[in-house]
């Protein structure tokens, strides 16, 4: 009976998931002998290669982008989560659907939609040019000259990458925040408000500490995919906004340096594990503190 349930999933997980990852892991300690042959030598040369200024810069940049994205998602998403939490049951369902729906839409299509909005001849610049020409005409009456409209460079730069990441990741932040806020004991909020604390003070001193597990998991589910984002920097970024994933792709598809690509992939994996371990630790400390209290 047990075997009937266990064999298929365990076998699949080993053969088609853990084994491929294990191979990459082994390759990350290997080197290219010839074009097609990779020898696993156990050397750390590939990891050392990743620490060279060029690649270290890209890794650092990936983290910087991801951190910025996470902070922006948190700031933008928290009021949304609060609004959903304290809505009536029916409104709540609709609002959740409203936030979830873009998440069901294809990532590539969402990114493409942003390209159409942000490009030089896109909708934002088109709207700005209308405003500019309107102001220019108005200024002409009063003797000012504004000059011709210069479209803002919104696409193919770092701004576009972070904008795109926030656009893509926002639902991932809102949902865990909402889940945490929804479990919150409302009488505590009411007590805080009754005792004279303002909404802001209540938010800082009551809501945030109580929602901390949700905030931590929201931060993680936003941060991890952002660091490893491939499509967003590829389509929205410029030549200088490469992130780790773009370097990895290059090693496997054009540069043919699989060991180095594997090392970069596993650097990404180690960081993911670290983040999860931190979350586990936070959760454990919290439980312990609660048990003591």
């Amino acid at each position: 009976m047990f075997a009937a349930f266990a064999v298929a999933p365990v076998a699949w997980l080993f053969a088609f998931f853990l084994l491929p990852l294990a191979i990459i892991w082994a390759y990350s300690f290997g080197e290219n002998k010839s074009l097609t042959e990779i020898v696993v030598t156990g050397s750390l040369a590939d990891y050392a290669h990743a620490m060279k200024p060029l690649y270290f810069g890209i890794i650092f940049k990936s983290f910087w982008f991801a951190a910025l994205t996470t902070i922006l998602c948190l700031v933008v998403g928290f009021p949304v989560a609060i609004a959903i939490t304290f809505a009536s049951e029916k409104t709540k369902a609709w609002l959740l659907l409203l936030i979830m729906l873009p998440f069901w839409t294809n990532l590539l299509i969402r990114t493409y939609a942003l390209m159409a909005v942000l490009r030089t001849e896109g909708y934002v610049n088109f709207a700005l040019s209308l405003v500019w020409n309107g102001l220019s005409g108005l200024g002409g009456f009063m003797g000012y000259r504004l000059g011709a409209f210069q479209p803002l460079p919104l696409l193919h730069n770092d701004f576009a990458v972070v904008f795109g990441l926030v656009y893509v990741q926002l639902p991932f932040m809102v949902l865990p925040l909402y889940a945490a806020l929804d479990r919150l004991d409302r009488s505590l909020l009411e007590a805080s408000l009754d005792l004279g604390a303002g909404h802001l003070a209540t938010f800082v001193n009551v809501v945030v500490p109580l929602a901390m597990p949700g905030i931590v998991s929201g931060v993680l589910v936003t941060l991890i995919p952002s660091v490893g984002a491939y499509l967003t920097p590829d389509l929205l970024g410029g030549p200088n906004s490469m992130m780790i994933a773009n370097v990895i792709e290059r090693q496997f598809k054009s540069a043919d340096d699989w060991p180095f690509g594997s090392a970069l992939s596993f650097l990404l994996m180690y960081m993911t594990f670290l983040a999860i371990a931190v979350q586990g630790l936070v959760a454990r400390n919290r439980r312990r503190r609660e048990a003591r209290a």
Binding site: F16, A83, F86, W104, L108, Y112
Partner: protein
């Protein structure tokens, strides 16, 4: 209605009734939807440059449907999603039942490994699959449809079935074991209990899991990008090659079709599983 008093003064916790929150929420909704809606609207625009509205047309849809490559890719995507969903559903249900019903050595380890496909960055899984299907299990080219899509299907199942397992496991957690005992008392065998008691209870989870697997597969670009070959493109991979350098009405039309398809599927599944959940809960309330 008690709404008259509330209309004037929002209660202390009725944040949705405060205007700064409302403005914020409206801003976020515009931020999330404006790009997608303009994309959809402008797919009907009769202008190649695609900024100013020049009248309604369906010609880009006609172009899209006549684009054989794109249609083949679309068919591939649906086939991959369908097969991957069925297999993921079986594997996911088995996994959920395994974890729910049995204690066994290495259970924690298995659970940890099961969470990996969810947390591993897509790019890492993509390159791992690329290496696996070139070095260990080279997928023969020129196989008849749909076997030629095997590498992509296998990869999709690998990242989908963990999600399915989690959804079904969540559903199983609410199963009342007394039903099982009652069935046993009434003389039902293991098999009968499984099909007549457990599976009906799991049904909303199965539907939600299937929907999740289908959309995950349809949505995936990165992992497919690394496992697809020149003859086995999927819709996202094909669109990717089209959008890299330009924004065109054809891509808008193709994207609109996919958006509408996903929205319709989601709505359908929500309706089915939502109705079921409501019914089950009503049944439990009695």
């Amino acid at each position: 209605m008690t709404g008259i008093v509330m209309l004037n003064t929002p209660g202390p916790l009725e944040y949705l009734r405060r205007w700064p929150i409302r403005v914020w929420l409206a801003g976020v909704v515009v931020f999330l939807y404006a790009p997608l809606l303009t994309l959809m609207i402008f797919s009907f625009n009769d202008d190649k440059r695609n900024i100013v509205w020049r009248g309604f047309t369906l010609k880009y849809y006609a172009l899209t449907f006549r684009d054989t490559d794109l249609m083949v890719a679309f068919g591939n995507s649906l086939t991959i999603a369908a097969i991957s969903t069925v297999v993921s559903l079986v594997l996911g249900a088995l996994t959920a039942l395994l974890l729910w019903r049995f204690r066994f050595p290495g259970k924690l380890l298995f659970e940890g490994a099961l969470a990996l496909p969810i947390v591993v960055p897509e790019i890492c899984m993509g390159v791992a699959m690329l290496v696996f299907f070139t070095q260990i299990l080279p997928w023969p080219s020129g196989l008849p449809f749909p076997l030629n899509l095997g590498a992509i299907i296998v990869s999709h199942i690998s990242f989908s079935f963990s999600f399915v397992a989690i959804v079904i496991r969540g559903r199983l957690a609410s199963f009342n074991r007394e039903f099982e005992e009652a069935a046993k008392d009434l003389g039902a065998g293991e098999w009968r209990i499984f099909w007549d008691v457990l599976v009906p209870h799991m049904q909303p989870g199965l539907i939600a899991g299937a929907l999740l697997a289908f959309t995950l597969s349809l949505d995936d670009f990165v992992i497919t990008f690394f496992t697809s070959g020149p003859d086995t493109t999927t819709f996202p991979v094909k669109v990717y090659s089209m959008v890299r350098f330009s924004v065109t009405p054809e891509v808008n039309a193709a994207s609109t079709i996919l958006i509408l398809l996903t929205v319709a599927l989601t709505a359908l599944a929500l309706r089915i599983s939502g109705g079921d959940i409501a019914r089950v809960e009503a049944g439990e309330g009695v």
